[in-house]
């Protein structure tokens, strides 16, 4: 059996993490191809619906990357609002029975290409340990049920 390859949706802020991912590319720091990056202007723009929708549609993990606190955020405190939202989302996921570790928030600046690739590798390893998103499994069984 081939190893489980997690499917990750990444929301990266335009000013820091997206540029950091770019930096990883131009400096040839490799990271696993499990990640689909969606560029957003700010992590504060990551509506909690995006996270739930990604998980519902079968992502095994959601990675949100933004600018370092307290003051790197291009929009003052969008990253800090995202931090609050992620904390509440984790509580919600736990109650739903989804491991909260499937949602990860990291601060990665535009110059931290190596850090980006390291954080992504870490997340992929963690998700491999956790296995597939349990919502994915039960939804197939549920459609058979209905």
């Amino acid at each position: 059996m081939s190893e489980f390859e997690p499917n990750i949706v990444c929301f990266a802020c335009n000013w820091c993490t997206y540029a950091g991912a770019d930096m990883a590319g131009t400096s040839k720091f490799q990271y696993p191809p499990n990640l689909k990056i969606v560029r957003v202007m700010c992590t504060g723009r990551v509506n909690p619906e995006f996270v739930l929708e990604a998980l519902k549609k079968g992502a095994d993990g959601v990675f949100i990357g933004g600018c370092h606190p307290p003051s790197d955020c291009h929009y003052v405190n969008g990253n800090l609002k995202a931090r609050n939202r992620v904390q509440i989302l984790k509580l919600l996921l736990t109650q739903l029975g989804v491991e909260p570790e499937r949602l990860r928030l990291e601060w990665i600046s535009a110059s931290e290409g190596e850090e980006f690739s390291r954080k992504v590798r870490e997340f992929v390893e963690e998700l491999k340990r956790l296995g597939p998103n349990p919502l994915k499994e039960s939804s197939t069984e549920l459609s058979e049920l209905e």
Partner: protein
């Protein structure tokens, strides 16, 4: 103009919506000039065979959610007969409070209800069975479905009137629209297109708060926004039209008006909470006391119709 033929059906609900209709009081007499209620189990002696033998209907008003086979069957029957189908109340529009049971499987729910609640004495763990043998013959009970669902999951809905129960003002507006025969666009919500906050008169100063506490922890200030007092109020994520009645009575909005232009009411509220909570420090779990039961707090009326809408155990073989 001939009178509109209207059926009112009570699916899985508490009966409050039927009482809500009566709450219209003498205005109901005015309404009855234009409509003829031909089926209303809570108020008339009718049998399902009467409904089956009815020719077409103009309007079917359904309150309650789809919780068992019977609800599903009757709603589909009503849909096949009625020109206009109205989802009436939070249960019909969003699944209602009973949707919270979707966190566990049907077996989990039956176990809780028939074995585990402190007030249940059922040592033999007797559960409802689908067939009951009476001396007169066998009776069949409708099966409970695995998930509680809003009406739109089994039939196309023309009008939505949310609220638990819908406020009188909106009920009257519904009847006006129905009798005027105005065809509206798809998914027409009878309510406001703005949030409950828009109708709320409490003072807001855009301050941030350190924590979200449970209601009993704070002396309530009747003038200030609940959120800014550190108390969970679903106003920002909830469709208005109710006139913020609960807030006016010094109770935070619970969210019965349903989601507003988003796919997930709870997620919208998480968005709002992210902005109002302090950003100086990472927020601790202890500071989120009001969210100890996040689904119960953020999805009280709408869990069935939310994006994820169920616990992962559901359909996965139980606990």
């Amino acid at each position: 103009m001939s009178k509109l033929k209207v059926a009112v059906y009570w699916a899985a609900g508490c009966g409050g919506c039927d009482v809500g209709l009566l709450d219209v009081n003498e205005a109901l007499l005015e309404v009855l000039k234009d409509i003829d209620i031909v089926f209303w189990p809570v108020a008339m002696d009718v049998k399902y065979k009467d409904l089956e033998s009815l020719p077409n209907l103009d309007v079917a008003i359904v309150n309650g959610s789809i919780r068992n086979e019977e609800n599903e069957h009757i709603v589909k029957l009503l849909r096949s007969k009625a020109r206009t189908l109205v989802a009436f109340g939070s249960c019909a529009c969003e699944g209602g409070t009973q949707g919270l049971a979707n966190l566990g499987s049907k077996q989990d729910m039956l176990k809780t209800v028939y074995e585990e609640t402190p007030t249940t004495g059922n040592p033999q763990a007797v559960k409802p069975s689908r067939v009951f043998k009476a001396p007169e013959g066998e009776l069949y009970l409708p099966d409970i479905l695995e998930l509680n669902k809003p009406i739109e999951s089994v039939a196309k809905v023309d009008y939505y009137v949310s609220g638990c129960p819908p406020p009188v003002k909106l009920i009257l507006r519904l009847f006006q629209i129905l009798t005027a025969g105005n065809a509206q666009g798809p998914k027409f919500y009878i309510g406001s297109d703005k949030s409950v906050c828009d109708e709320c008169r409490r003072e807001r100063v855009s301050k941030t708060v350190q924590s979200m506490n449970r209601l009993y922890r704070r002396a309530l200030d009747p003038e200030k926004c609940f959120l800014e007092q550190g108390l969970l109020c679903m106003g920002p994520a909830t469709r208005g039209g109710c006139g913020a009645k609960c807030v006016e009575a010094n109770v935070p909005c619970g969210g019965c008006g349903g989601r507003l232009n988003v796919s997930d009411q709870g997620a919208r509220m998480i968005g709002a909470l992210g902005s109002i909570l302090t950003t100086d420090e990472p927020i601790s779990i202890g500071a989120l006391e009001a969210l100890k039961d996040p689904v119960g707090a953020l999805y009280k009326y709408c869990f069935s119709s939310s994006l994820i809408g169920r616990g992962v155990r559901v359909g996965g073989g139980g606990r």
